[in-house]
């Protein structure tokens, strides 16, 4: 197994999670080497950006932090992972005929968001407080139809697709949600409801739906407060 320093074990983004101690990377020696290579590459420290301009980074970085609630370290390097994709033109292979291709669409929508910041708060998106930024982001999601000559829902789809693909490809995010990642050639033996492998970690928070509901409500409330402050 590749060496890992003790402070690099069972990391979750922002230290949040419900599966304490669960560490996908502890099983690296049970993966095939091609898969291990692909996954471990996501851990290497990102070097510089090649697609986004400095001005675009100023908008994209806080936007992506907000979309994924990454408000503290350790962060999954979502911006860098997206930059890497756009730099080599690795798109999903389709785009709406009412949108430019993905790279241009990113540049254009970041500029539009910055424009919104100027017209509503008189400052660039990067200079705003997180709650003000959140209010602008929420406004895009709430827009029905046109947003700066584009379809708002298609813009939302572009942002969230790229953001979630990057974030949930990272082993730290898997630690957070209890997903064990690669499974070849190891496979699974214990199938069925409430069946676990001995190395799978059970959900630490009681699975009572009332608690679960409350937890989501709590997250929703925090989220709403953030927005509320932004619109005031």
């Amino acid at each position: 197994m590749p060496y890992r320093s003790p402070d690099r074990r069972a990391i979750t983004p922002q230290g949040r999670g419900r599966y304490p101690g669960f560490d996908v990377l502890a099983q690296v020696d049970l993966w095939d080497d091609v898969t291990a290579g692909a996954v471990l590459a996501r851990l290497s420290h990102p070097t510089g950006l090649s697609f986004f301009t400095v001005a675009e980074v100023a908008v994209a970085a806080p936007l992506l932090d907000l979309l994924l609630a990454q408000d503290a370290e350790p962060r999954v390097p979502v911006l860098e992972l997206i930059d890497e994709r756009l730099a080599v033109g690795e798109t999903d292979g389709w785009h709406y005929d009412t949108m430019p291709e993905d790279g241009d669409a990113w540049r254009r929508t970041l500029a539009c968001l910055d424009e919104d910041a100027h017209s509503r708060f008189g400052r660039g998106f990067a200079e705003l407080a997180p709650d003000q930024q959140a209010a602008l982001v929420q406004a895009v999601q709430d827009t029905d139809g046109d947003w700066h000559g584009l379809t708002a829902a298609q813009v939302w789809s572009l942002w969230t697709r790229y953001a979630c693909t990057a974030f949930y490809s990272h082993p730290w995010a898997w630690n957070e949600i209890g997903f064990p990642g690669p499974a070849y050639p190891r496979g699974y033996l214990n199938l069925g409801v409430d069946a676990r492998e001995k190395w799978e970690q059970r959900d630490d928070e009681p699975a009572d739906p009332v608690t679960a509901g409350r937890r989501v409500e709590q997250a929703r409330r925090e989220h709403a407060e953030l927005l509320d402050r932004g619109t005031r």
Binding site: R16, G17, D32, V34, T35, A38, V39, L66, L68, A69, E90, T91, D92, G93, W94, H95, Y96, D97, E101, A134, V137, Q141, T160, R161, C164, T165, F167, Y168, S169, A173, W174, I177, G178, F179, P180, G181, P182, A183, Y184, P185, R186, G187, Y188, N190, L191, G192, V193, D194, A195, R196, E200, D203, A207, P209, A212, G213, R215, V216, A219, H223
Partner: protein, 554 residues
């Protein structure tokens, strides 16, 4: 064992794979027969997917000299595939395409593949048959179209392909009731929930049918229940033409050229017949001569290629004299509903295809809509699961919290039979790809019947999940399985190919893939496409007995 011996006698693929823990017979590929470009081969097949690979294997067995060209790589599961969602991007057709219409259909990972094995490399693995009613929906229900062939014509081919994949599942009560060669697999949490919910809601469900051998098959090992079927099976347990038909095709003299993008089908305008194809390989253009060409590039690329191959005699593209190319393209409405359970479901374990129900497949005379839908387990991995959560409008901390709850959710998917409509079609877009060829533009709009099916399917799935004990249910709208676009018809005015897959008006040109389907039922199309290709091969062989004189000698 008797059954397996019979399969081996007609298709040895599973026995031609290595049994030492590696997945590819490299020897077979190295020893592959090569044809000269100037050699007029009997047939060029464009695309080595569900349709193209089966056709190639059958004709190679019959002694035809076949060259099959695929735009993508000749996959080696050990070297090329990963047990990882994000890392599987290369499996999908990601050359640019435009989508539009009132209800645009996103393509990419959810719709088509590239490389030898085609989309079945990363298909889920469900292999249901169509129902007899699918072949005559116009007569029976007043919607859709009648096929120029009947279920009975396809039945022997269904049986043959089911044995070759092979398919595992319980005895099948719907459509034309039948059994499967392999017994059903054990199910994981998601399958458990479906069976429990269906039984509580009074709905019939069955385990299967999946093209995953239950037990060893030839040199193919047992499934390890790792759940990455949609990322390509590194184990060789799930069937795709790469392991079920390509090895046997190579052993019988077929040549499969990978990384060859066919740019044009060539025709002799005076004679009105095909003469070969041009293709692009490593930046160069080549030309392969052939007596006949079969296009099998999937429902988007097949019509695109026919349109790109226009000549003075065929100014609107090949087979397009009646303006039929690209039309009647269909997707299945595929809403997915997920339920939250107190218990841990861990739907990422076991293959996503586990359990299905076809109880709502046929027209219900008491309902205002025609035709129906099927329900199956689907088990999204985290990136895809995030789409479900985002579709509810969540982002930020709420999104993260829902995602942390991943292990508690079970997901069902429906396949709704959207009806074929002339306006749903592929045309050439106003953008070009990296070869400078116009890309496909795919336009889609739903009709009223389509929308009613979506709503009804969603209600049923939610009912099942609630009956199983879910406290919260969420639904996302998706689409699956493109078919049609060069459909089979009795007359040239109504389609692009005849009942034997011959393109109207161009001698020697055939279409043998999912594009030829006139209706789609609510079954996944892969098995039907393979069965059609096996039948098309028999028709070609029968036709050639008289036509191609030198065949007798080989």
């Amino acid at each position: 064992m008797k059954g397996e011996a019979a399969v081996r006698a007609r298709n040895e693929s599973a026995w031609l794979l290595p049994n030492d823990g590696s997945r590819t017979n490299h020897r077979l590929r190295e020893d592959m027969r090569h044809h000269d470009l100037d050699d007029e081969v009997d047939l060029v097949v464009v695309g080595a997917g569900a349709g193209g690979a089966v056709l190639t294997q059958r004709l190679a067995r019959a002694g035809w000299r076949v060259v099959c060209l695929d735009a993508g790589p000749f996959w080696d599961p050990d070297r090329d595939w990963v047990s990882d969602e994000r890392g599987s991007h290369g499996l999908y057709w990601t050359e640019p395409r435009q989508i539009g219409g009132a209800d645009p259909v996103p393509l990419g990972s959810n719709n088509s593949g590239r490389g030898v094995g085609g989309s079945m490399v990363h298909y889920a693995g469900y292999t249901p048959r169509f129902h007899p009613s699918d072949f005559r929906t116009r007569t029976a229900d007043g919607v859709g179209a009648d096929w120029p062939i009947a279920y009975a014509h396809l039945r022997p081919y269904y049986e043959a392909i089911e044995a070759e994949l092979p398919v595992a599942g319980q005895d099948w009560p719907w459509g034309d009731p039948h059994r499967y060669p392999h017994s059903p697999h054990p199910v994981g949490g998601n399958g458990d929930i479906f069976l429990r919910g269906a039984s509580a809601a009074g709905i019939e469900a069955r385990v299967g049918p999946v093209a995953i051998a239950n037990g060893r098959f030839g040199n193919r090992p047992h499934c390890i229940y790792r759940g990455f079927c949609l990322q390509g099976c590194k184990v060789n347990a799930k069937a795709s033409p790469l392991i079920t038909h390509v090895p046997d095709a190579l052993a019988h003299g077929a040549e499969i050229r990978a990384d060859c993008h066919v740019s044009r089908v060539l025709v002799d305008d005076d004679a009105g017949r095909v003469t070969g194809v041009t293709y692009l390989h490593r930046g160069r253009e080549y030309r392969q001569r052939a007596r006949a060409v079969a296009v099998a590039g999937y429902s988007i690329e097949t019509p695109r290629l026919l349109l790109l191959s226009a000549t003075p005699r065929y100014p609107d593209g090949l087979g397009n004299e009646s303006d039929q190319v690209g039309r009647y393209l269909m997707v299945q409405g595929a809403p997915q509903s997920a339920g939250r359970f107190d218990e841990e479901v861990r739907m990422y374990k076991a293959p996503p295809p586990e359990v299905s129900s076809e109880q709502f497949y046929e027209t219900d005379p008491t309902k205002p809509y025609k035709r129906g839908w099927s329900i199956q387990t689907v088990s999204p991995l985290p990136i895809t699961w995030a789409e479900h959560v985002v579709a509810q409008g969540h982002w930020g901390s709420v999104l993260r919290e829902y995602m942390r709850d991943y292990v508690h959710w079970a997901t069902l998917g429906s396949l709704c039979e959207f009806l074929p409509q002339a306006g749903n079609r592929v045309t050439l877009g106003d953008e070009t790809d990296r070869h400078g060829l116009p890309v496909a533009h795919f336009s889609y709009s739903q009709c009223d019947n389509d929308k009613q099916l979506l709503a009804a399917a969603q209600t049923t799935m939610e009912e099942i999940l609630t009956a199983a004990g879910a406290r919260e249910v969420i639904t996302i709208q998706r689409f699956a399985h493109l078919v049609g676009g060069a459909r089979m018809a009795a007359r040239p005015q109504d389609g692009v190919v005849d009942a034997d897959h011959r393109v109207f008006g161009v001698a020697g040109l055939h279409v043998v893939d999912g594009s030829t389907l006139p209706t789609q039922g609510s079954a996944n199309p892969g098995l039907t496409i393979m069965a059609l290709a096996a039948r098309a091969a028999d028709r070609l062989i029968a036709g050639a007995r008289v036509g191609l004189a030198h065949q007798a000698a080989s």
